[in-house]
């Protein structure tokens, strides 16, 4: 249903990013990079959860050396997260990074950026070109007080400057990202970038917070852009276990039909004063049962016969519960009435028939 924006296609190791390609969920390892075993273990946990690109921080030379070993032990493409140091960037490229993440604004000398581009060209490495709202406010060691309403424009200008630098150096293998801790500016700046450039885009909200706080703001920021067809890879940032980031990312993509999944979908009516059964209890049991089902069916649990039948029309199987009994629907057609105590069992049988 969503018309994805057309972009160039960028190769990142064995995967491709951009128009017509699946949207890739990414995350970062959060253990010391030098602890190779722990790091590899976390990469694998992330991959199993559905992470298609794993980023690893490379702050020191020891991390570069560890990164080389991690690359050898992992199957998923790895992204090296680089800040400030051209040496780290080049070490990571030579060490087998499929992509490096670079905020060119924090590499002081422009000649160093060109050296990084040359190394990436030679090794077929992709580069994420990042602009952060925070960094446009730095002038040397000073913070500049830029009114919030001007920052989107300045981030766009900075992005334009660096994209032209990469293009001048004949390097099109780039993914663009512009990040802010503010939801509205994240949406604005990414829309502006999507309009101006034709490279794949990385979406995220920086420093969103603890998982329970980050879920809604990330869903609003990333979801809004995806709904407009913008975004080729996403990262949900939350403090704590990175697997949680993947789960939220998958939820966002699922809510927009942007991910292929065999997980069944459960629709539950919110209930109201009309409802005469414990819908939450029933739905929780159905949800538990659905965990065993590996087929993308849609199941609805409705608490009354007012909205129930209509809303359930799109469901493969539905229950509309009434007092003491319930009606089972298949593809919007009423099959039968069953006593309340047999509802769950009958629903399970109908689901198994599908």
């Amino acid at each position: 249903m969503i018309n994805r924006r057309t972009t160039m296609i960028v190769n990142i190791g064995k995967i491709k990013l951009g128009w017509g390609q699946p949207i890739v969920i990414q995350s970062m390892t959060k253990v010391a990079t030098t602890d190779v075993d722990k790091c590899v273990k976390q990469v694998k946990e992330l991959t199993q959860a559905g992470c298609g690109l794993v980023r690893i921080a490379i702050p020191t030379k020891a991390d570069s050396e560890a990164f080389r070993q991690i690359v050898d032990k992992c199957d998923v493409p790895l992204v090296a997260d680089i800040h400030f140091s051209p040496a780290r960037a080049i070490e990571a490229i030579e060490g087998g990074a499929a992509k490096i993440r670079l905020n060119p604004g924090n590499i002081k000398d422009q000649d160093d950026i060109v050296r990084i581009i040359d190394a990436a060209k030679m090794h077929g490495t992709a580069i994420r070109v990042g602009v952060n709202e925070a960094s446009i406010r730095e002038l040397g060691k000073e913070k500049v007080d830029i009114p919030a309403e001007n920052r989107v424009h300045l981030m766009l200008k900075e992005m334009e400057y660096y994209v032209r630098l990469f293009e001048t150096n004949k390097f099109p293998n780039i993914v663009l990202s512009a990040k802010s801790a503010d939801t509205v500016r994240t949406i604005e700046v990414n829309r502006a970038i999507a309009e101006k450039f034709h490279y794949p885009m990385h979406l995220g909200l920086t420093h969103a917070g603890l998982p329970e706080d980050a879920k809604v703001s990330s869903a609003v920021a990333i979801g809004s852009l995806l709904a407009d067809g913008i975004g080729d890879t996403i990262r949900v940032s939350t403090a704590g276990d990175p697997v949680k980031e993947i789960e939220i990312g998958r939820e966002i993509l699922k809510s927009l039909g942007l991910i292929e999944t065999n997980e069944p979908e459960l629709i539950v009516c919110p209930t109201c004063g009309r409802c005469q059964v414990d819908v939450v209890k029933l739905a929780t049991k159905v949800k538990k049962f659905l965990k065993k089902i590996d087929k993308p069916i849609r199941v609805a649990v409705m608490g009354c016969i007012v909205n129930g039948p209509g809303e359930a029309a799109d469901a493969d199987v539905a229950i509309c519960a009434a007092k003491g009994k319930g009606y089972i629907y298949r593809h919007g057609k009423k099959l039968k009435s069953v006593p309340e105590k047999d509802l769950l069992k009958t629903l399970e049988k109908e689901i198994e028939k599908l």
Copy 2:
């Protein structure tokens, strides 16, 4: 930051809905309407949680009578939820509903709709004019198989038909809503309605699911529209305790800066391989402390000095934690370095100074 769409202003009891007015979070009672005491209790719980409009289902004549008593006992404007029955609509209007929710498509006889309009006109009652994706698929008792891609257009057509009916009957006190269980179609149809009409709009995603499942899809659907300036009242639908709906609604509005609040905001860095402190533990403690603060300050807890200082520049107070110590920032300026064990205490003192 968000330019709200200009709309007419609609009076709903003592509150106003539309352009320039606060966005109102609403929910529904989920206990039997005839149980007046329980219902009033739930209305008050909702109001305390931040609910500005409470909807109550009126399926039977007994509910209409109970509704009249509930109106007398509640301070917040109440919305009567009506389906199928013109008699219930008129009873609710006469019983003191500030607004009724009506899907005109499920009132069989058009003369009845006009009678309802006349009653609402006489009592100064507002009407929410609703179109549901489910209902456009009903033709009498039959379900019609309409391809998903045509439904947005048909919902818009149905909305247009009824808006013209209300306008012909000189009744402008309407709020429009178009609902679907599908996130993408919810966004599409509401954008189309926002473009075509100038009445306030009610946003929601029908039958979203259990609270843990409904959070992301509701944030994506409602948040996307709000970010575009669309929406004057919102309802998050989840099964279970309606107070949870209000909490999620508030989170969505907060994430877009659309609600005035004295709650402090906590930004936490997601951490990565650079991090040498337990950021989640520290942030959880800071969060607990912030619960006591009744001032809309922004506090940041950062795990390293790479992104920390830049990202923390917008925070009123920030910690950038390093190995064994941390730096305290106020409005982006470094104040001092403190040993790890004193970080929390020093941060608390700085917050109290504000």
